[in-house]
């Protein structure tokens, strides 16, 4: 029984990280989450602020006591998902530099063709590059 319990315990500890290795929210879901959870808070406290995470976050913090618990819970997730995907896309070239050099040499300087080549070379990319592609939402 002990080995099984140990296995289950490891599974229990590892599960959240396994799940988070899944792809993060896309822009649509992150934005929809923000709108659904914080719509009333934005109406009541942040009129005149457009869909701009930096300005909305500043508004939510400034009006901390008036912001609903649901919004307080969800807006960091939404903003992190948007920012995380943007960052992942910016760093993709760096994390897949080897692949771009070795698999996409002729087109790597072309931002569109370089990316398309990288995504087409699915089976030849390193695990780190693969993770970066997933984090960027391209797979």
């Amino acid at each position: 029984m002990i080995p099984i319990r140990v296995f289950l315990l490891v599974l229990l500890i590892a599960a959240p990280s396994l799940a988070s290795a899944q792809q993060a929210m896309n822009y649509e879901d992150a934005s929809a989450l923000l709108g659904a959870s914080c719509g009333k808070d934005i109406d009541d406290n942040c009129r005149g602020v457009n869909l701009d995470p930096a300005r909305l976050k500043e508004c939510f913090i400034r009006n901390g006591d008036s912001i609903s618990a649901k919004c307080r819970d969800d807006y960091p997730r939404a903003f992190n998902a948007i920012q995380g995907r943007i960052t992942a896309r910016i760093t993709l070239a760096k994390l897949c530099n080897w692949e771009l050099n070795h698999l996409c040499g002729t087109v790597r300087q072309d931002p569109v063709k370089g990316l398309q080549c990288l995504l087409a070379a699915t089976k030849s990319v390193t695990p780190n590059c693969n993770k970066a592609i997933i984090a960027a939402g391209f797979r």
Partner: protein, 225 residues
């Protein structure tokens, strides 16, 4: 059947592990990597650089209003019929009244367009955000409001979702290009559009992974704002 303490502990641990695997997925839902295929297919652009002169189109719209031409909305021809022939996606965005502030219930829609425009399949193309109004109110303010709203959508796509600015332009056509011309005052005319107008001019983009540092001069293109 009663479980012994040891067995029930194992069952609880198993249930906990299964729950832990399932729970983190539920609030976010399992995500797809790319927006739906139909939206992407709809927005694949023409394989030529755009020859639409936005400055001239704006002037044409303003001039038509000023000269009081085509006064009757029911008989008013579209000011930019060439846009109707290009690949486009029509969508509804709710704004605050007489304002360019996007209402929170439309955030998801803007995010969906951002997902599509940042997809590798659509990266070679330049897009035009087109704002419209219905035929309620005066034509001139309607034209101005639709421009502000189109600019607002573009600003969010560029500022929040980092779509390369050179891939996105915006124009407001007010009530000069009614989407439901049989019902000029219908809310159906309030929708916005994103139109694929051509390919990105040959210069390195900033929102792709292989972007190399290039001289600023290379990034200059014939702007048609």
């Amino acid at each position: 059947m009663r479980l012994t303490g040891k067995a029930s502990g194992g069952v609880a641990l198993l249930a906990g592990a299964l729950l832990a695997l399932a729970v983190p997925m539920s609030p976010m839902r399992a995500q797809t990597a790319a927006p739906t295929g139909s939206l992407l297919d709809q927005l694949v652009g023409p394989e030529t650089e755009s020859d639409i002169d936005l400055a001239a189109l704006r002037q044409q719209a303003a001039q038509r209003i000023k000269s009081r031409a085509d006064l009757a909305p029911l008989k008013r021809p579209p000011i930019a019929p060439e846009l109707l022939k290009l690949p486009r996606y029509d969508f509804d965005v709710v704004f605050d009244p007489d304002s360019s502030m996007i209402r929170p219930q439309s955030y998801g829609t803007i995010g969906r367009i951002a997902d599509a425009l940042s997809d590798p399949k659509l990266r070679p193309y330049v897009y035009l955000v087109v704002g419209h109004t219905d035929a309620n109110g005066k034509r001139d303010p309607n034209l101005a409001l639709s421009q502000k709203r189109a600019d607002s959508i573009r600003d969010v796509l560029v500022g929040t979702f980092k779509i390369a600015p050179k891939r996105l332009q915006a124009i407001g056509l007010g009530e000069e290009q009614l989407q439901d011309s049989a019902h000029p005052t219908s809310a159906a005319n309030l929708g916005a559009q994103i139109v694929a107008i051509g390919t990105v001019p040959q210069a390195p983009a900033t929102d792709a992974p292989a972007a190399a540092k290039t001289p600023a001069a290379a990034a200059k293109k014939k702007a048609k704002h």
